[in-house]
């Protein structure tokens, strides 16, 4: 019984780490530009499919993964430059509509380029391990590790470094930020680069286990968004914890209730959070105000 519980927890944590990386990207753009990026999950799929094609074309796995992440990071910045930054009086609602358009565009391009069938990236190096009856897939360790390094790195960057803090100031006080010499343009580009990077990483670490498909990004993005809402859309910490909780909850529901309800968990959590605790899991609001 305990073994099952732990087995489900391990699977939930690794799935949750993919949601967490997406949530981190969403919060990065929200805190700086108040943009909700609906295309975040599609960027993840784009990275996965891009890496699959490169590996099929003979590029070593590690290089393919790096190129895919860089490519998606650049794509995210291009989206910011070509679309987001062109809009005067950008409200969050406008950003949702804009990025929804981008999401549809990316999906259509992926469908044309890679077809409708899901593609698998080779598993990263390493072997599956078994601890007291709990089997842990090597790829799951990669997923958790990616969250630890990338998610943790981004969190530290925003919360501990001067530049990171300054970036967040732009969202709160754009005029004041400009007066003290922080360029909102740079802040925005950096935020979208970080979002693209985190999205790309989540896409490539998930592709060996969950496959990459043109259409899967939207639901994945939604799960990341739910986690971000758990973080009140401002707290990286709370969002990461929220994402891990969401992943684990999904596994418990699938294991102890019914596999068919798994995707409903995110929606239920979203509704409950919005009704009961719209500020998310954030305990102090001080983190927002820099």
């Amino acid at each position: 019984m305990l073994v099952d519980f732990l087995q489900l927890t391990v699977a939930g944590l690794s799935q949750g780490s993919v949601y967490a990386l997406l949530a981190v990207g969403l919060i990065a753009t929200y805190t700086v530009r108040h943009v909700i990026n609906i295309a975040q999950g599609d960027f993840a799929m784009l990275a996965g499919l891009g890496a699959v094609s490169m590996v099929a074309g003979g590029v070593p796995l590690l290089l393919a993964v790096i190129f895919a992440i860089i490519g998606v990071t650049v794509a995210s910045v291009i989206m910011e430059r070509l679309i987001i930054s062109r809009v005067k009086n950008l409200t969050t609602l406008v950003s949702i509509i804009l990025t929804l358009g981008v999401s549809t565009l990316i999906q259509a391009c992926m469908l044309l380029a890679w077809g409708a069938e899901g593609r698998r990236l080779p598993t990263f190096p390493g072997s599956d391990i078994n601890v007291a009856g709990i089997s842990i897939r090597s790829q799951e360790l990669w997923m958790l590790g990616a969250l630890l390094v990338v998610g943790g790195g981004i969190l530290l960057f925003y919360e501990k470094t001067k530049f990171g803090k300054a970036l967040r100031a732009v969202a709160e006080q754009p005029v004041a930020a400009r007066i003290v010499g922080i360029s909102p343009v740079v802040a925005s580009i950096v935020a979208f680069a970080i979002a693209g990077f985190a999205g790309g990483v989540s896409g490539v670490v998930a592709a060996p286990l969950y496959l990459a498909t043109w259409s899967a990004g939207l639901l994945l993005g939604l799960k990341g968004f739910v986690a971000a809402v758990l973080g009140g859309l401002v707290s990286f910490r709370a969002a990461i914890i929220g994402a891990l909780v969401l992943g684990v909850l999904e596994q418990y529901v699938a294991g102890y209730i019914d596999g068919g309800f798994k995707d409903a968990v995110a929606f239920l959590v979203l509704i409950l959070v919005l009704i009961i605790r719209p500020q998310g899991l954030v305990l102090r609001q001080s983190a927002v105000r820099v």
Partner: protein, 398 residues
């Protein structure tokens, strides 16, 4: 604090609404030809065949090769002069692997394109959604999905994939031979898996095999740890995973990764190379009843299906660069049966329906078809072989 609430609440709601809207809307229609209207004249002008396939969404591994096959066969047929001198126009619609998409596409094909016959859908759920429409409009429909419920008691619906109950019979027989007494099942939560547990219980009872646990999974699922953990706990002599690729393949991978060593049987829903893409090395040793297409190179030389299969594999591979899957074969059989009946009866709906019912001895990719008023599926257990996965392909077992 309060200010923050006010800001986040509408934003979150709006984003959620946007996501939900697109989730429901899905992608566009990227499959097949443009909707050029049919002629509408009863017995002259082009013959219009509609197809409703799961080209995008969870059924893509099925629908894409089916689309390829139908397009290829239509081009071949028209190059040879069509049917009795009449050109054949093929209109393919993508149902996005959804029931409502299939119903909508069927209605459009009948009302806007005036089709004479409809092929599809690829999966059981969408196929069942089409059934009441073709029945009330009285348009012959040849499904390429598996569940026997698609054709049971229907005057207008036929199907070419082997019936699920025949597949289960074949699995249970194999289990009985090996002396297994208990079995656990992980099944597709949609139409394809509907009623499978009941069938296993019923067929198994005759051989003294008991179904002791049932789990279900969505075909869109990517993680199967939960279901497979429960299957592991059931400790059955053997397990059945009943689904289509890629989900059934990912489930197989999770099964092996959780260290379950009981033998696995899968359905004919994994009769393609995509299974190996999803399952990887975990595929080795899986047994699955399926048609002869994927093991054609291991068949005895005098197998009556061999010439048909070889020709199809050669044509398809030349056109698309990859060998066809069993699903491509189901589409091939549906198309050929349609052509045989159209040659015989023309486009009058009643005559066409009767002609399909009378198709007998047609040697197809999935078997030799014997349609009748009582049997709209046309295949029995002789259409199946037991295949075993090994070295990244399906092989004839034993």
């Amino acid at each position: 604090m309060a200010r923050s609430h006010r800001r986040i609440m509408p934003v979150a709601l709006a984003a959620a609404a946007a996501l939900t809207l697109t989730a429901c809307g899905g992608g566009g229609n990227f499959g097949g030809d443009d909707d050029t209207g049919g002629d509408g004249e009863a017995e002259e002008g082009p013959i219009v065949i509609g197809a409703v396939l799961d080209i995008t969404g969870v059924g893509a591994n099925l629908g894409v090769p089916e689309q390829n096959t139908l397009q290829m066969l239509a081009d071949q047929l028209n190059a040879e002069g069509g049917i009795n001198g009449r050109e054949v126009e093929l209109i393919i619609k993508d149902n996005q692997s959804t029931e409502d998409g299939a119903a909508r596409a069927t209605t459009e094909l009948i009302q806007n394109d005036d089709v004479d016959l409809i092929i599809g859908a690829s999966r059981t759920g969408p196929s069942l959604a089409m059934r009441p429409i073709v029945e009330s409009e009285q348009i012959p429909n040849i499904s390429i999905a598996a569940n026997a419920a698609i054709v049971e008691g229907s005057d207008w619906v036929f199907k070419t994939a082997q019936n699920d109950v025949v597949v289960i019979q074949s699995i249970i027989d194999n289990m009985a031979e090996k002396g297994y007494k208990t079995v656990a099942l992980a099944r597709d939560a949609t139409g394809f898996g509907e009623g499978i547990a009941e069938m296993i219980t019923e067929v198994g009872a005759e051989q003294g095999i008991e179904l002791i646990a049932t789990e279900s999974f969505e075909p869109s699922a990517t993680d199967f740890t939960a279901q497979m953990t429960n299957i592991r706990n059931a400790e059955a002599d053997a397990n059945i995973i009943w689904g289509i690729t890629p989900s059934a393949g990912l489930a197989q991978a999770a099964y092996v990764q959780l260290g379950i060593d009981a033998p696995v049987y899968q359905s004919h829903g994994v009769a393609n190379d995509a299974f190996f893409e999803a399952a990887g090395d975990a595929a080795d040793g899986v047994l699955a009843p399926m048609g002869r297409l994927l093991v054609a190179d291991q068949l005895p030389d005098d197998d009556p299906q061999l010439p048909v299969i070889d020709q199809f594999v050669a044509d398809y591979t030349e056109e698309f660069g990859t060998p066809p899957s069993s699903f491509a074969g189901h589409a091939y059989d549906a198309w050929k049966i349609a052509v045989i009946a159209l040659e015989e009866a023309g486009t009058d709906a009643d005559a066409l329906r009767d002609a399909i019912e009378n198709v007998s001895g047609f040697v197809g990719i999935s078997g030799v078809f014997e349609m009748s008023p009582e049997n709209h599926s046309g295949l029995d257990s002789s259409a199946l072989i037991m295949a075993e996965a090994g070295d990244g392909r399906w092989n004839l077992a034993e």
